[in-house]
């Protein structure tokens, strides 16, 4: 596990360096709606952009504003300060207004050699699915044209199979975390998830198999309650560690960089482009989908039940409207069912905020009190 923790805490990790040293190309993307199989099928390493809690934003703030999400500002900072210079291309998606602004400013100030805009509908009607199928095809063609490769159907099926293996390992990790005596802490699982999107899939599967075996009978340190964490895009392992440090073990989540990323799996079909488009759009559990709240709510409710959660923390980055509003609906729906909820607004990467967050979580754990099942289970 320590190897994974270490690898996931640096942006240009040793696998990326090795890949680049061997002449490989790397493409950055941010949104979970990006079918990474298309990139992998081109023989290119897909790299999900992270900021890893970077608190510096002074270059980014000359372009974005303080009314934009600090996660996007932090990523833009790393794009402009040279941290991401190892990337050979960027894939923009219209995930949210902040993300669009992040990519647009990045490309305006420091154009990437390859830049493609994958347009993702906000609805899942048949019309929207048709549109997205063409979008995925255009994405494939743009990759082929720029990188001078042919992405065949077989290449795509093979990439789907590889990513299915990644998703399979992640589901195993999730199941082990959700068990009565969790095999991982929330911070560890977030590290595993982050790593899964920034190294070659075969390497990840090997590392994941190792850690799954290692943690077979592991038991977590004492904790006060089993919590679920939901909300805005965040890769802040430290923040999860802070929550767990006061006794709230994160046994499951509904985070963009967390479990929302891997429920999909390659389905049967004749055309892999259609399979990918349908899989990514239909399974997109994100509040940027405006006709899909009931599915998100049901996902959270069923996870609460399955993981025997004592309470739910819904958090959003300041100025994140899509999660900020969804969290209110979620809070109402959870409270209606008697599930304790803590609604948190936070700044990304602001370690100065950790003290306040610890206090809020401690108070929440007090509120949960005897309801907590931790005592019965640890």
């Amino acid at each position: 596990m320590s190897k994974i923790t270490e690898l996931s805490s640096v942006i240009e990790n040793e696998y990326v360096r090795k890949w680049k040293d061997e002449g490989g190309k790397v493409i950055g993307y941010a949104c979970v709606a990006t079918p990474v199989e298309v990139i992998e099928a081109a023989g290119i390493l897909p790299y999900r952009l992270v900021a890893l809690g970077n608190p510096s934003m002074e270059i980014a703030d000359a372009h974005l504003s303080r009314f934009n999400c600090s996660f996007c500002r932090s990523m833009l900072q790393l794009g402009l300060d040279g941290t991401y210079d190892f990337l050979d291309g960027l894939i923009e998606t219209n995930g949210c207004d902040h993300l669009r602004g992040m990519f647009e400013n990045w490309q305006y100030v420091k154009p990437s050699p390859f830049f493609h805009y994958l347009k993702v509908p906000h609805i899942t009607t048949e019309d929207a699915l048709d549109y997205f199928r063409v979008e995925v095809r255009l994405f494939k063609e743009a990759m082929e044209k720029h990188f001078g490769v042919e992405i065949t159907g077989d290449n795509l099926w093979s990439a789907i199979e590889k990513q299915d293996k990644v998703r399979d390992r992640l589901r195993k990790v999730l199941a082990m975390r959700e068990r009565e005596s969790p095999a991982f802490t929330g911070a560890e699982v977030l590290s595993i998830l982050l790593l899964s999107a920034v190294i070659p899939s075969d390497d990840f599967v090997e590392l994941a198999d190792g850690v799954i075996e290692e943690r077979g009978t592991w038991r977590p340190p004492d904790f006060r309650a089993r919590l679920m964490l939901c909300g805005s895009a965040s890769d802040e392992v430290d923040l999860v560690g802070e929550i767990e440090g006061v006794g709230g073990l994160i046994v499951t989540d509904a985070l963009c960089y967390g479990t929302r990323a891997f429920w999909k799996a390659g389905k049967e079909g004749d055309d892999p482009v259609v399979v990918l488009a349908d899989m990514y759009l239909k399974e997109l559990l994100c509040p940027r989908m405006y006709d899909d709240y009931p599915r998100r709510r049901d996902y959270v409710l069923s996870t609460v039940e399955r993981a025997a959660v004592d309470g739910v923390i819904v958090m959003h980055n300041k100025f994140c409207d899509i999660h900020g509003v969804d969290n209110v609906q979620l809070r109402m729906d959870l409270e209606k069912r008697g599930v304790p909820v803590l609604q948190l607004e936070k700044e990304y990467g602001a370690k100065a905020d950790f003290g306040r967050i610890r206090t809020r979580v401690q108070a929440f754990l007090e509120k949960i009190g005897d309801r907590g099942k931790a005592g019965d289970r640890s």
């Binding site: 000359a62 019309d127 405006y290 209110v328």
Partner: protein
């Protein structure tokens, strides 16, 4: 018994507008003063902006149009018709075409509430925030929607959400209200795609919306019904374009507050007789002033295009104050909806034309396009050149994440390609708590005197023109 805190924005404004509706068209200064004197301070300040002598005639007609819209919706509900909330970037003429449905526009309701009510919209904003909604939501619609969520207000039967693709905060709050109230939400997504494929997709979505609304209202939109509003919409277009051209004159004969009136008409009543009447009076007033070379200050010091929204919590000290200093407000981003003539030859052609109008609505057309900055920048540069602007101002409404995302690109491109400087302000356009109007005025004045006017003097052209009215 209802407490005043429970009375919703719609009902309170309706009560005010019932009185407005009864006022005669020609009132003397003394009569106006007497009527305004009966109002509490916030309402007096807000409503007073419409009755300054140089805008009174148009202000009166505009308020009566708004009254007709409010009271019409109330009456429609009593008659069992469907009340459909639409956001500002949805052309309401489609709903006006139904016999059995009425549109009400969230942002117009909020704005009129802020203008007309004692305490402005803050009570309703607080109701929304009290539910746990984030304070970075947009007050433009959250004020009205907060009223619906938190008080005994006028309830809609359905919501049209046309912001997906253009604005997250707008799309998200309408989705929330739909779930909270248990009323259906009809989504019109704007693909962020400027290609022909993107346009075709939008057209498909629009046609789907028309069919869904027909089913919901239980009424077919026949050619005759669509023609009725399309012909009136075309008349509105003609008048609106005439008004656009009148802005080009130096000094500008169009009063600053007409910017608000123009999109008030567009977002609420386009395609109706009341809209035509209001725009006609506005054109007549501007033409009369053009003939007289009338201008409220000694000199027209600056001609400013506001690149997105204006400020609405103190219309008098914003619009009227600026022109009294010689600062012309040429319009703002919400005026950039570029109306066009609808082809009335068939039902299909009208619907296709309405889809095109919808594509061109403000925000949708600019930041809802493929690039958030490119289309916005092109429109702003076009408007600046067409209207002889010599400066631009971004009001910096705090919740406009998408415009804030690319405002720096707009400022850079504007400066680089036209030499026009852009002032960036920060505030809440509908709530005075964040930046008071006195601060906004100071910042505008400093910019105009120290940057814009100096730049003109450096170039040796002096002031643009003189006039006084």
């Amino acid at each position: 018994m209802k407490t005043s805190a429970q009375v919703g924005l719609f009902d309170r404004v309706s009560a005010m507008l019932e009185i407005v509706n009864k006022l005669p068209d020609d009132m003397s200064d003394e009569e106006i003063e007497g009527v305004l004197g009966l109002l509490p301070p916030d309402s007096r300040q807000g409503m007073g902006a419409f009755f300054v002598p140089r805008v009174r005639k148009a202000g009166n007609v505009f308020l009566k149009m708004i009254a007709s819209w409010f009271l019409g919706a109330r009456e429609a509900r009593r008659e069992g018709k469907k009340i459909i909330i639409v956001p500002f970037n949805f052309p309401p003429e489609l709903i006006h075409a139904f016999d059995n449905a009425n549109p009400i526009t969230s942002e117009i309701l909020s704005t009129i509430g802020v203008v007309a009510l004692e305490g402005q919209g803050e009570r309703y904003w607080d109701m929304a925030i009290g539910l746990g909604l984030p304070d970075h939501m947009c007050s433009s619609h959250t004020i009205e929607l907060g009223s619906i969520l938190g008080s005994e207000d006028f309830r809609p039967h359905a919501i049209v959400s046309s912001a997906p693709g253009g604005c997250d905060t707008n799309a998200k709050i309408h989705e929330f209200v739909s779930h909270y109230l248990g009323v259906p939400q009809f989504i019109l997504e704007k693909p962020v795609d400027d290609s022909d494929r993107g346009r075709e997709q939008y057209s498909k979505y629009y046609r789907r919306l028309v069919a869904d609304l027909e089913e919901f209202v239980g009424e077919e939109l026949t050619y005759e019904k669509l023609l009725r509003v399309a012909e009136k919409a075309n008349k509105c277009t003609e008048l609106c374009l005439e008004l656009w051209d009148l802005h080009k004159a130096v000094p500008c004969p169009v009063p600053n507050i007409f910017s608000l009136f123009t999109y008030g008409v567009r977002f609420a009543m386009w395609g109706t007789d009341e809209a035509i009447n209001t725009l006609q009076v506005m054109v007549d007033v501007a033409k009369e002033r053009l003939g007289e070379k009338a201008y409220p200050a000694e000199k027209e010091v600056a001609r400013a295009l506001w690149v997105y929204t204006s400020y609405y919590f103190d219309l008098h000290n914003f619009f009227n104050w600026m022109e009294e200093q010689g600062f012309t407000h040429l319009g703002d981003g919400l005026d950039l909806f570029f109306p066009h003539h609808l082809d009335t030859s068939s039902r299909e052609s009208i619907i296709e034309g309405m889809a095109e109008s919808s594509w061109n609505m403000p925000m949708t057309r600019q930041v809802g396009s493929e690039s958030m900055s490119v289309s916005w920048t092109e429109d702003v540069i076009y408007a600046c050149r067409e209207l002889n602007a010599n400066c631009a101002i971004f009001c910096g409404h705090h919740s406009c994440k998408q415009t804030w995302s690319v405002a720096s690109i707009l400022r850079n491109e504007l400066q680089k390609r036209t030499g026009i400087p852009m002032l960036v302000l920060q505030g809440d356009a509908w709530i005075k708590r964040m930046t008071p109007m006195s601060v906004v005025q100071d910042q505008i004045e400093e910019f105009m005197r120290n940057v814009v006017a100096k730049k003109r003097r450096t170039r040796g052209r002096g002031a643009l023109a003189t006039g006084k009215s």
